[in-house]
Symmetry: C2
Subunit: 123 residues, 2 copies
């Protein structure tokens, strides 16, 4: 069986800056029908990730601030040349459902989700 | 290659009734570290599903009511004896990431998510 690499299943990532409001992040998730948004600085470098789960957390605790107060800052990532099995194991190990795909300078190249991997089984 | 059935990968489902508040549903998602909650009636029959994406939608549009006003009522389901490929195709087709697993009377037996299927690739 040929090895498949992340490059083959990754999609383009919609990114946001960290000073964006919770409502704004939620609107982007709904408009683009996504659950995961990598957060970048002014140079496009990864600084965090926000997901619909974090929005649920904000609702659960009554948090109403900017996303940088609720996003996850220590982000688990993938690179385009790693096998999909490695990406799947990272998501399993950390109980997460998406990995921003980055280059050596932490520039966001795309994103791979458990939905993208699950689709590979839909034969 | 042996066929694998949904019964082998499904997990127990945490369910809620439809008159629960948005905050309550969000708190359950955070406490249990889940994104999908099947909604049942007084007999335990499936009547809807609410996900963290729906919570994000509520934040995006400023909805503050009970979950029955924001949950999805036409639910795509799986049964324990179907092959995982079928479950994966259903999720791909409807752009969803979870299927409540039900019996012929729509009683909720469990849930299977794209995260559960993605883990099968984590070798
Ligand atoms: C631990 S998961 C638990 C729920 C469920 N397994 C899921 O993936 O949504 C939810 C948290 O994971 C974080 N998260 C998502 N993707 C991540 C990634 N690639 N690296 C680090 N944290 C991530 C989110 O910011 C969120 O706070
Ligand atoms: C269409 S998906 C789009 C975003 C992303 N693909 C995801 O799965 O979250 C989000 C919507 O799907 C609905 N949904 C989730 N699981 C479902 C299921 N098994 N049957 C019907 N609708 C479902 C949710 O209630 C939510 O309104």
């Amino acid at each position: 069986q040929k090895v498949m690499f992340v490059r083959k299943v990754m999609r383009g990532a919609i990114v946001l800056k960290e000073d964006v409001s919770l409502e704004e992040a939620a609107k982007v998730m709904i408009e683009k029908s996504i659950n995961h948004i990598p957060i970048v600085d002014d140079e496009g470098k990864l600084v965090g990730i926000i997901t619909s789960w974090d929005i649920a957390k904000a609702v659960a605790i009554g948090y109403k601030g900017k996303i940088n107060g609720i996003m996850t800052k220590k982000v688990v990532t993938a690179n385009p040349d790693e096998p999909i099995e490695l990406a799947a194991s990272k998501m399993e190990k950390h109980d997460i459902s998406a990995l921003p795909v980055v280059d050596v300078n932490l520039k966001v190249l795309g994103i791979v989700t458990s939905e993208d991997l699950s689709k590979l089984l839909a034969r």
